[in-house]
């Protein structure tokens, strides 16, 4: 009796796995192409879940596009040609690494420009400060006076 109970418990514990065992999604037959596809898909944006890459996304469009990329690669197309295929259909938006062209110059070179502007400002401020510090040296009289005032201050701490 006890043995039967144990068997029953084991079977019922395992049943969700038995019932839930579905066919695994088809993985490309060629591991080399699969690897290439996944590497490329890391750089491509899924149009449906826009903060995910094509490699990560579970959206059905992403699955279709991964399949499309596999097929293009099997036909011998290069990574660039695959990217072009997607850009023609969905625009530069699919690329996580935007191309350098006139409309993206500000994006690509803006940070460097800001850095240069910041460094130039910092440099000119420092130069001006140094000039201020050395511009009007005290005369001998003034220095005497200043020392006198300072020592007076020391003698009478209020």
């Amino acid at each position: 009796m006890r043995r039967l109970l144990v068997i029953w418990a084991l079977v019922s514990l395992a049943s969700p796995f038995l019932a839930g065992a579905r066919e695994a999604p088809p993985v490309g037959e060629d591991p080399a192409i699969e690897r290439r596809m996944m590497t490329l898909a890391q750089e491509l944006r899924c149009l449906v879940c826009q903060n995910q890459t094509l490699a990560d996304s579970q959206a059905s469009l992403a699955a279709d596009l991964r399949q499309e990329i596999r097929e293009l690669m099997q036909k011998g197309e290069s990574d660039e040609e695959v990217k072009h295929y997607l850009v023609v259909r969905y625009g530069d938006f699919v690329l996580y690494r935007p191309p350098v062209k006139s409309s993206t110059w500000l994006l690509w070179f803006g940070p460097a420009l800001l850095l240069v502007a910041g460094l130039t400002t910092l440099y000119s401020v420092l130069i001006r400060r140094r000039r201020l510090a050395t511009a009007d040296p005290l005369t001998a009289d003034q220095e005497q006076h200043a020392l006198a005032l300072l020592s007076e201050d020391e003698r009478q701490p209020s």
Binding site: L61, D64, E68, V87, R89, Y90, G91
Partner: protein
């Protein structure tokens, strides 16, 4: 000179205002509206069977010479249901022929949908594997394209068509293209 020096303190304020301007504009922009690279490009070619009759096919080139709408829909698409009523009403006006692209659907479900909700389409193309959808850069159903007499895509609507969009954008555009 002194006056200029005083103005220096306004620089951060100016920078802040410019930044606020950009951020404020960003509040009203929808990141899901990705501009299509296909605008003003030839509509991708296709030859698909019709939903109503697997024996009849239709290609892009057979539609050359008239202005037409391509409406991407599917029976599983929730916002298409909302849009469908607008399309059925619009089709009655006869301003422009509407062709459907039934995207990743089954024939049975599609025919049932058309039977119960009405059929605004001259014909619906059956794009079971979504290949034509990919060629048209479809990423969110429903989507609608306005295609001119030369087979060029002139406008793309992402998301459901509303009476306002018809009135303000699509009808004037169709009139212009037909003129």
């Amino acid at each position: 000179m002194k006056k200029l020096a005083a103005l220096r303190f306004l620089i951060p304020l100016a920078a802040f205002l410019v930044l606020s301007g950009f951020l404020f504009k960003g509040l009203w922009m929808d990141p899901h509206q990705v501009p299509s690279p296909l605008i003003d490009k030839p509509a991708p070619a296709f030859r698909l069977t019709q939903v109503a009759d697997p024996g009849k096919s239709l290609s892009r080139d057979e539609l050359l010479g008239k202005v037409w709408l391509l409406n991407v829909w599917a029976s599983w698409c929730v916002s298409c249901r909302e849009e469908h009523a607008v399309l059925v009403e619009f089709a009655k006006t006869g301003v422009v022929p509407i062709y459907g692209l039934d995207y990743q659907d089954t024939r049975d479900a599609a025919l049932k949908w058309l039977g119960t909700l009405g059929n605004p389409y001259q014909a619906s193309l059956f794009d079971q594997d979504g290949r034509v959808g990919i060629d048209y850069g479809v990423y969110g159903v429903p989507e609608t394209y306005v295609i001119d007499k030369a087979g060029t895509i002139r406008y793309k609507q992402i998301g459901p068509i509303t009476p306002e969009i018809l009135h303000d954008t699509i009808v004037p555009l169709v009139r212009k293209l037909n003129a």
